[in-house]
Amino acid sequence: MAKPKVAFYWCASCGGCEEAVVDLAEDILAVVGAVDIVFWPVALDFKKSDVEAHEDGSVAVSFINGAVRTSEQEEMVKLLRRKSGLVVAFGSCAHLGGIPGLANFHDRKSIFERVYKEAPSNANPGGVLPQTQTTVDGKELTLPEFHDTVRTLDQVIDVDYYLPGCAPPPDLILGAVTAILEGKLPEKGAVLAPDKSLCDTCPLNDSKPEKVSLAEFKRPHQILADPEKCYLAQGLICHGPATRSGCGERCINANMPCRGCFGPTKGVRDQGAKILSFLASIAGLEGEEKMTDEEVGRLIGQIDDPAGLFYFYSLPASLLKRKNLRQGA
């Protein structure tokens, strides 16, 4: 029997998800042995025309990482969708928009202004901005269009499964590949990670008080965090209560609070709202009835850049996105 065809593709991403596949180490040999990799721009020299040559639906699965920012990415993921039986959104950026999705606090115009005109490292006296078409010495050159907005993969094509994380850890990748090869997949649309909160599996959970109350918010660079004590209880904002488990508590084990890259648990439509909600609940909980409005304002004011913090990985997937996007601009 022919081996199942598998494709990997990257969109707006950092390359870490590609690294995660390589991080399968010797396990990757088993995967490579069991499948026929037909497309993987970072590692293999296949072209778009090679993908086009496959029959529609004949690629068993495409793992696509990165958010969708350009016309080229949109075209490629639509092509891969057509050719593939299954599409897995691989990693935080494809799943929720991820770090590239934070660019949605701005739009194309302001990004171009900043990057090509205002940034101090620029020498662009003509104020030239990227063009999709330009003629140089009588030759026509083209560039993909830079869209106004960063989108999650499922805002562009139909997605079958999600492998969360920045980047997804090897055990979950291997689990997903095995499930696909053995045809033991959960219902369509599932996130291939445990449906528990990170706190449930966090090694510091034992030191998390029953009732957390924060009299002050601190930032990681301001204190030397105790690696043995729940970060929230130390006054550091940790997204663990509103984040899905499955990463292996990587940040926690590196003495850093969680920033939510695994996204929310099932049923939550807006991870930022959940983070906001639990933080507001525990801020100044102890003695709340004695606090004046000014004191509450000062405490809440200690949370720096709340929108950026709460939507660290999920802005494009949020309910509000941003005004321009909602208006379809």
Binding site: A273, L276, E289, I300, G308, F310, L320, N324
Partner: protein, 143 residues
Amino acid sequence: MGVTTEGKPAAEEKSLRPKVLVFCCNWSTYPGFQLSRLGEGDEGDREPIIITMCTGRLDPELILEAFSRGAWGVFVAGCPPDECEHNGNYKTRRRILLLKKTLGPLGVEPERLALEWVSTGESAKLAKLVGDFTARVAQLGPL
């Protein structure tokens, strides 16, 4: 949390009547407020009300959803904190404040969200507050 019969979409898309959603506490502000609005004309002409069991139960996700579905403004009426039987309103105070700080970068002016404390029996005050809020939101226009 239940949606009253008034929870149907307000007015026509075309008429530029501001779409304001009011969250009211079931145990205090809601009954009086509802009575005070009897005889005010068509239900469809008024701000839809969603009853909460306590504003402390009002999930910020619902407020964001209201905005994402076209509300021009969201008004939350809760019992004054020391009158709340569940101590939920201290939480609400912090949540709304933090929401207001978060809305701006998401493209929603913070003034589109209001929290006011209203005691049982102060339905006239509430009606006025909602009226004033609606007027302010009308100035801002749709989202």
